[in-house]
Amino acid sequence: MSKKNAFPGGLTGGQYTAISDSDAKKIHNASMKVFEISGIQVNDETALKIFHDHGAEVDFKRKIVKADENWVLDKIKTAPSSVKLCGREEKNDLDLTKKKVYIGTGGTATNILDLKTGQRRPSTLNDVQNTAKLVDALNNIHFLVIPCYPNELDKKNVDVNRFYAAIRNTSKHVMGGVYSPEGIKNIANYAAKIAGSKEALLRNPFISFITCIMSPLVMDRDYTEMMITAVETGLPLATPTAPMSGTTAPASLAGTLVQMNVESLSGVILTQLLNPGHPVLYSCVPTTSDLRKGNFCFGSIEMGMMNAACAELSKFYNIPTYVTAGVNESKLPDMQSGYEGMATSLLCCLSGCNYIHDAAGLIDSGMTVSYAQYVADDDILGMCMRAVKGIEVNEKSLAVDVINRVGPGGNYLFDPHVTDYMETEFFYNRVSDRKAYGSWYSEGALDTRQRALERAKKLLETHKPLPIDKTVENEIIKTIPGMVKEWD
């Protein structure tokens, strides 16, 4: 009789607005001036030609693309207002639209805190499998962005194995960064086998890709080539840009959003020029720099505010958001990882961002993942989703009859009203300790990190993800180039 999740993905946010509608319009207007005056640099010949053929002002020598507001708005018009990202099981499907909120993991870390020793070491393909499996078991994490990098593999074999390691360990949606056009093609190829056919895959895409844009204002050659390949697969795509306030973007938060908006829209535009109607997300990773020493900040409060503001910008363009929250600068799962992660995740959830990634497992400014942190973040994200659901006020919840029935001096534990509400009104933390001091002490006086690690170990031992059909798996391993041969 397992309890149903009362606060699942897809609840509607919007209780918090980081910027007003009129400020969103001002940021839009400012971005259009940047598009027109400075433009963006596109270091890929094919892309430059596409921009040119569709009427943008292209300087082939300087590789600069400029455009005016009318052109930009006309080209993004075909981007869908809702994007469906599916799981291998229907219960894990995500419907990204309006202010529906989903939150999940991010990557790509190159290190992991070892499950047994707790020491930081380079992550492996096995860690990709285990992190995916852990996320599959955690109810408040709604999707998987592939968390870490298999350092032991040749770079040319990373794409196919990394995606496969994730897919076979979770039936939640799998999105991931990519490293080569061949990798993208091969992943799409075997994903179609898993889905049954290419049509079935595109109807219910259980995987999607991420290809990046560089701040300030650059579409890099390799990433743009991969972006083009990814669009050709027909699978959904995020084209994030990660400006850092004060170093690769203006120090003002509004200025960072202006530049980010130009970059994010550039990704959307290219996908629409290549394939009008292509499922793409308005993809944002606005971050900051700590100007005391110049360090990159993935867990600053300003980052949370800017990412939350992306909900308003994306509504202005009517394209679903991909934003970033929940990461932190801490080197261990500790107080810092908790408070930094909670602050930005809560802001983004309450603002109604659609696809909030990086929000579980990542520490160390995104350079490291921690099994314990996933489990702690599962609690944090559950709390965020509880807040998104809000306080329900209706005749039954006002409980006048109940209060009168119990009367002065009574108690509510024995009233059926309690049973009606106990599963749907409260979020029950799994890692938080709510015992009396004595019980906590006698059970080993464990701190949050120890309790989280214990739960992580238990879930990794017991959880059984939905497997891939054996025949299909064998065919993939046999026919896809570069695949690791032994999987367990």
């Binding site: 009789m1 397992s2 309890k3 108690n411 534990l413 024995f414 059926p416 309690v418 049973t419 106990m422 599963e423 029950y428 015992k435 009396a436 001091y437 004595g438 019980s439 906590w440 002490y441 006698s442």
Partner: protein, 210 residues
């Protein structure tokens, strides 16, 4: 074992008092021994409830509703059996100590103990050491359970334990709990400590089996 006994257990776990009553009546009509109805279905169901509660699968209000269903079933069967037929886990006196009026924690422990098969006499709140001694002499409990919510009333626990000793009832097993109480304090006054309702049941089981 007749299928109906299993159905009673299931209805009990679901907290359906009326259904439990109906099924118990039906089982009696079918000629099943009342002792078997108690031991092989009601107590089996309650034991499952205790396990589910421990695992976090059942919540406090659900346990209370299940305990109520159990009691409804027992009401029908009690007149059909002798006192000796009833396998009791033990007898317990519960109270909130002198000067303290808080009782939700104590009520919770009481319900949980009853659910686990204990016969519990609840003396209420603001109970003096004298009253505890008086009832203990008469009722002969296996355990005296005391609750306090305030640091200022916690001392009444010490007084109550002393009063029991002075009355020659020094062998009485005392169990204490409540927000300000700790393992250390319990040891100091010669009592046993439980941090919450579920550990209270576990502790009681341990204490009576000694």
């Amino acid at each position: 074992m007749p299928a109906i006994l299993e159905q009673i257990s299931e209805a009990l776990i679901d907290g359906m008092s009326k259904k439990v009553q109906g099924l118990v009546n039906k089982a009696v009509e079918e000629g099943i021994d009342p002792k078997s109805i108690i031991n092989d279905s009601l107590l089996v169901g309650m034991s499952e409830v205790a396990d589910l509660f421990q695992e976090g699968e059942m919540f406090v209000p659900e346990v209370l509703v299940a305990a109520k269903a159990m009691n409804k079933g027992m009401e029908i069967l009690k007149p059909m059996i002798t006192e000796d037929d009833l396998e009791k886990a033990g007898k317990v006196i519960m109270c909130t100590v002198k000067g303290d009026l808080h009782d939700i924690g104590k009520k919770l422990v009481t319900m949980m103990l009853e659910g686990a098969g204990y016969e519990v006499k609840d003396l209420g709140v603001d109970v003096t050491p004298e009253k505890i001694v008086e009832v203990s002499k008469d009722y002969k409990p296996d355990i005296v359970g005391m609750s306090a919510m305030l640091t200022t009333t916690m001392v009444s626990m010490r007084d109550s334990v002393s009063a029991l000793e002075e009355a020659g009832l020094g062998d009485t097993v005392v169990m204490v709990g409540g927000a300000p109480v700790s393992e250390k304090f319990a040891n100091e006054i010669g009592a046993h400590y439980a941090g919450d309702a579920s550990t209270a049941v576990k502790l009681a089981n341990k204490l009576v089996s000694k």
